[in-house]
């Protein structure tokens, strides 16, 4: 009984994971995999965290529509003059964009984002109108 209930509870999240894999695989070329995200859930709130070090917070663009969050931004390469040369070049540079679909509609008014120490946290509460309502029997 417990197992089936739990499974049913997790089902939308499995679907969500599968959907997002699909979206990001077929997305725009080059950098659609960047950045990697973690998604945390507590009932009617989801938190997306992502590590995007070295980015100017002004260049981070977050937009929410329905159940979809879109993240985009860019990281410029270190400015170098002609006589300067790279011995190693492993850091990621360029433009990124990523779309994540949640299994619920998001209350865009209450979305909260912070960028600290190169880590972006976005808190996404579920839209009130979307939440299940208890119907009282008269």
């Amino acid at each position: 009984m417990t197992t089936t209930y739990l499974e049913r509870l997790l089902e939308p999240w499995r679907e969500f994971d599968r959907m997002n894999r699909l979206i990001n695989r077929t997305g725009s070329q080059g950098c659609s995999e960047y950045p990697s995200v973690n998604v945390w859930v507590n009932g009617d709130n989801a938190v997306i965290t992502t590590e995007i070090p070295g980015i100017d917070r002004e260049s981070i663009d977050i937009s929410v529509s329905g159940n979809t969050v879109s993240l985009s931004g860019s990281r410029p390469a270190e400015e170098t003059k002609e006589e300067e040369s790279y011995h190693r070049h492993e850091l990621w540079h360029g433009k990124f964009s990523k779309t994540i679909k949640l299994p619920f509609n998001i209350d865009s008014e209450k979305v909260n984002a912070t960028y600290r120490k190169g880590v972006l946290h976005i808190s996404l509460p579920q839209l009130e109108a979307d939440k299940p309502k208890k119907i009282n029997i008269k």
Binding site: V39, W40, E51, P53
Partner: protein, 135 residues
């Protein structure tokens, strides 16, 4: 696509044979850029989650080691549902050549990126060894 994916994935740091870690945490090798800029060698290392208080830069003989300790900021009462990246400390070691002025190495952290500026030693800048051949 697969190549891009590989590039952005964090790499776990390898341990030497027979060595174990004390802290039970994952340790990643931060990606770095090493740039030669005039009289400086600049090392940039991506260490998201690290700030100026949680990064250690040590120099022992020729080995420059950077270590970033992470205090994971986990959303309270939330459960991890999708995990595309792991969270852990960062460590990487570089061998310095003797041309570095060890007294004047500068380290700064901004937005999770460590920036090390290693000035070249003065005498090394100009010293040139003449090579003579035998007749």
């Amino acid at each position: 696509m697969t190549d891009t994916l590989k590039e952005v994935q964090k790499k776990e740091a390898e341990l030497e044979k027979g060595v174990e870690r004390i802290r039970e945490t994952r340790v990643y090798t931060p990606a770095v850029d090493i740039i030669e800029k005039g009289n400086d060698i600049v090392i940039l290392a991506d260490m998201p989650g690290v700030d100026e208080n949680s990064v250690d830069v040590t120099l022992e003989k020729d080995l420059l080691t950077i270590y970033g300790k992470i205090e994971p900021e986990i959303p309270v009462n939330h459960k991890l549902m999708v995990s595309e990246y792991g969270i852990g400390d960062y460590q990487r070691t570089f061998t310095l050549s003797s041309e570095i002025d060890r007294e004047h190495i500068q380290a700064t952290v901004r937005d999770g990126v460590l920036r090390l500026v290693l000035p070249k030693a003065d005498k090394e800048k100009t010293r040139k060894i003449p090579v003579t051949g035998h007749a």
